[in-house]
């Protein structure tokens, strides 16, 4: 940590966070309930509708259960505390703890992403090694690549007839094209010298693939995987929302449907944290296979 005139980035991060939370708190503060000027009948009406509750000291206070507008940071922290304390509790078919929801989302994401990566790398290498085939198939890849993975969802649901597998396939669709395109590109633009050396050494086809082609194209393939990773992560949340499959994406939708905005903010934070953890894990793995020329 350098402590010269510019200050440390950590300090600035913390400072920004404090400013943000403080501002959020102040903007969402609610004045306490004032019964002045209200008739007994109006007060009864407010109480009946759950707007206010009788305070212990007598008089009325706003019902803390009922949010008005955007909840403050303290309400979100309280929501998070409750949710995290029951992270691994299953209260019924439709109410699984947040820990399980994260697990469902991560496994759905991992299944779709891994399957897509394997398929894309295999076909990418085949296309990259055969220039004519690559040029023949490329127009199709270019058309299929920009289609939003969610646009496939109704068709997938109709043909697969199973929402669980449909969600995984939506992730698959999001992840397969970037990896396929970049792998084919990476393999086809391998330095000619590498292949010449391999030919001179008379390596078998299999050895050539493992010793020369894949390592040579690895930086490009990893770049493709990184793009695929991002788009798969983006796809998994709306797929859960639309299909009603339990997961963190569905959590945010259910909280919205119930107008529990603190719950929505909590769900967004969970999606963010899950994304960061998955992303750093991916970067560690990517570091193992890339190299500096």
């Amino acid at each position: 940590m350098k402590t010269n005139g510019n200050g440390s980035p950590w300090m600035i991060s913390v400072f920004l966070l404090v400013i943000f939370l403080g501002g959020w708190h102040l903007l969402t503060l609610r004045t306490s309930f004032d019964a002045k000027g209200k008739t007994e009948e109006q007060l009864q009406m407010l109480e009946f509708n759950g707007d206010i509750v009788r305070a212990e000291a007598g008089g009325y206070a706003w019902n803390p259960e009922k949010m008005k507008g955007v909840p403050g940071p303290l309400a979100v922290v309280e929501k998070a505390r409750v949710e995290l304390s029951e992270a691994f509790v299953i209260k019924g078919t439709n109410d699984h703890g947040i820990g399980y929801l994260v697990l469902y989302t991560v496994s759905r994401f991992a299944g779709g992403f891994l399957a897509a990566s394997v398929v894309a790398i295999i076909f990418g290498v085949l296309l990259g090694l055969n220039r004519v085939l690559f040029r023949a198939v490329n127009p199709f890849i270019q058309v299929l690549k920009p289609i939003s993975p969610l646009a496939w969802m109704p068709l997938l649901l109709y043909t697969v007839k199973d929402p669980k597998w449909t969600a995984v396939l939506v992730v698959f669709m999001a992840a397969v094209w970037p990896t396929l395109a970049t792998t084919a590109f990476g393999v086809s633009s391998l330095k000619k010298e590498y292949l010449h050396v391999a030919a001179i050494l008379q390596l078998s086809w299999f050895k050539r693939l493992y010793r020369v082609i894949l390592p040579g194209a690895a930086p490009t393939i990893v770049n493709g995987l990184r793009i695929a990773f991002g788009s798969a992560l983006v796809a998994v949340v709306p797929a859960e929302m639309l299909l009603g499959e339990l997961g963190v994406g569905y959590l945010s939708w259910i909280e919205w449907n119930n107008l529990d905005i603190a719950g929505v903010i909590f769900a967004i934070l969970v999606v963010g944290v899950v994304g960061v953890i998955l992303d750093s894990g991916f970067n560690k793995l990517a570091g193992l296979v890339t190299y500096q020329e």
Binding site: M45, F48, N49, G50, D51, E65, K66, K91, G92, T93, N94, D95, L157, K161, D162, P163, M241, L243, G244, Y250, W253, I254, W256, N257, N258, L259
Partner: protein, 444 residues
């Protein structure tokens, strides 16, 4: 061994065959008896020349042929006494988180499924299209559906045609027209020209009642207003955001709008048609014939739970049972206001109407016929419709009453009731004339 009573001496030496007969469950025996009876009846009814042909076919082949047309296994299940053991006990039942589903939902926490030998779990869906897809794709064994949905699915309107049953209605009444707070001055349908409305599904009582109400007031629902399909849970959020002017929605979302100070209750649906059907319990014909005893046990649980929910004394207990996150995920006060009928209308008054929502399982065929006349009226059904045949196939009125009688609940006379909708009487025996009587419609 019911036929072995006369000659008890023979039972001393038990033959292997008699052993096998004894081992044969009473279920199978009953099934065979029914098969024989049906085959016999068909042969007797045929004229002499055909009779020879049918006899030559043999009872088994004939039964198979008849079974194509008549669900014999279901008949056997209904005739079985004591109740046959369910073939499948672990079940998933889809529901939408609304008070209409009360009997289906509460049957889990209050133990009605368990009482009838089932381990059923209810699975929450986020919209009616999702329920339809789950039901058709067999992700769930049975489902809470809007009362027009089993008719629409059976007829292939808005989906591939799949024969469905609606063994029981869940709730009658229980909907309302809710308008945004900015429309507090609105008094008639004519004031609503240019509004943007939400309904939960195309094939819903909500849609048909809203259209009926608007059209009676001279407003064409396809020309003078916009009607959009929005899943019930999203309606309040949309109303709050000002995306829509109002909706005809299932509760608790009308009361929830008042609770959120976003809207007011303009009209309860019972003011349009008192005792109209709303939601129902639906199951595919395939499931019912594949697992007849399970179907029957489910049917019993539902009739039992629905009648239990009908008793006003049970409503508070029910509100607490279905409020948690796993079911409706709503504030208890909102559910209580809906279920007890003592509610804030959003205009500053507390109203009392115990009939705001009620529960009655009996699926009158006349209800199905009314729904189909409206499907026809608004272009959801094209061509000739055999109203009473479809109603009889989908709405299992006779079976429902048989179970009600067995469980000691009230039964009904006939399958056609007189319905009065906004002062106009509906004669279910004249559906075509009824459809033609409307000036405002969207028929080609």
């Amino acid at each position: 061994m019911s036929d072995g009573d006369g000659n008890s001496s023979r039972t001393m030496a038990v033959s292997p065959r008699a052993d096998a007969e004894k081992a044969e469950s009473s279920d199978e025996h009953l099934e065979r008896t029914i098969e024989r009876a049906v085959a016999g009846a068909v042969i007797r009814a045929a004229d002499p020349s055909r009779r020879r042909f049918l006899t030559a076919m043999g009872a088994a082949a004939l039964t198979a042929l008849v079974a194509e047309l008549l669900p014999l296994k279901e008949f056997a299940a209904f005739a079985a006494d004591p109740v046959g053991k369910p073939e499948k006990t672990d079940l998933n039942i889809a529901f939408i988180p609304i008070t209409c589903a009360t009997p289906i939902i509460m049957a889990e926490p209050l133990g009605f499924y368990r009482k009838h030998g089932l381990n059923a779990k209810v699975k929450r869906a986020a919209g009616w299209a999702m329920v339809r897809d789950w039901a058709i794709n067999k992700d769930v064994d049975a489902a809470h559906m809007l009362s027009p949905m089993p008719l629409a699915i059976t007829l292939g309107a808005g989906s591939v045609p799949v024969p469905f049953y609606m063994p029981a209605v869940e709730n009658v009444n229980g909907q309302a027209i809710t308008l945004h707070n900015k429309h507090k001055g609105v008094t008639t349908a004519a004031d609503m020209k240019g509004f943007r409305f939400c309904v939960p599904f195309d094939y819903s009582m909500h849609n048909y009642l809203l259209r009926y109400f608007l059209a009676e007031g001279g407003v064409h629902p396809d020309k003078d207003v916009q009607i959009r399909v929005v899943p019930p849970p999203e309606m309040v959020a949309n109303l709050k955001a000002g995306n829509v002017d109002g909706y005809l929605a299932p509760d608790p979302f009308n009361q929830r709008a008042v609770y959120e100070n976003a809207g007011f209750i303009f009209k309860l649906s019972k003011e349009i048609w008192d005792k109209h059907p709303c939601c129902g319990f639906a199951i595919s014909k395939e499931f019912a014939s594949q697992y007849p005893n399970t179907f029957l046990a489910l049917f019993r649980s539902i009739v039992d739970a629905t009648n239990y929910a009908s008793n006003p004394a049970h409503r508070k207990e029910i509100a607490e049972a279905i409020a948690p996150t796993n079911y409706l995920n709503q504030p208890v006060t909102v559910l209580e206001q809906v279920l007890t009928g003592t509610y804030a209308d959003g205009l500053g008054a507390i109203k009392k109407d115990p009939g705001r929502i009620d529960f009655d399982p009996y699926p009158w065929h006349s209800m199905a016929i009314w729904i189909m006349t409206q499907m026809k009226r608004w272009g959801h059904l094209k061509g000739e419709v055999n109203y009473s045949a479809v109603a009889e196939q989908v709405y299992r009125a006779a079976d429902c009453d048989r179970i009600a009688k067995e469980l000691g609940y009230p039964t009904h006379q006939g399958v056609m009731a007189k319905h009065t909708i906004m002062g106009r009487e509906f004669d279910a025996t004249q559906p075509d004339a009824y459809v033609r009587s409307f000036k405002i419609h969207s028929m080609a």
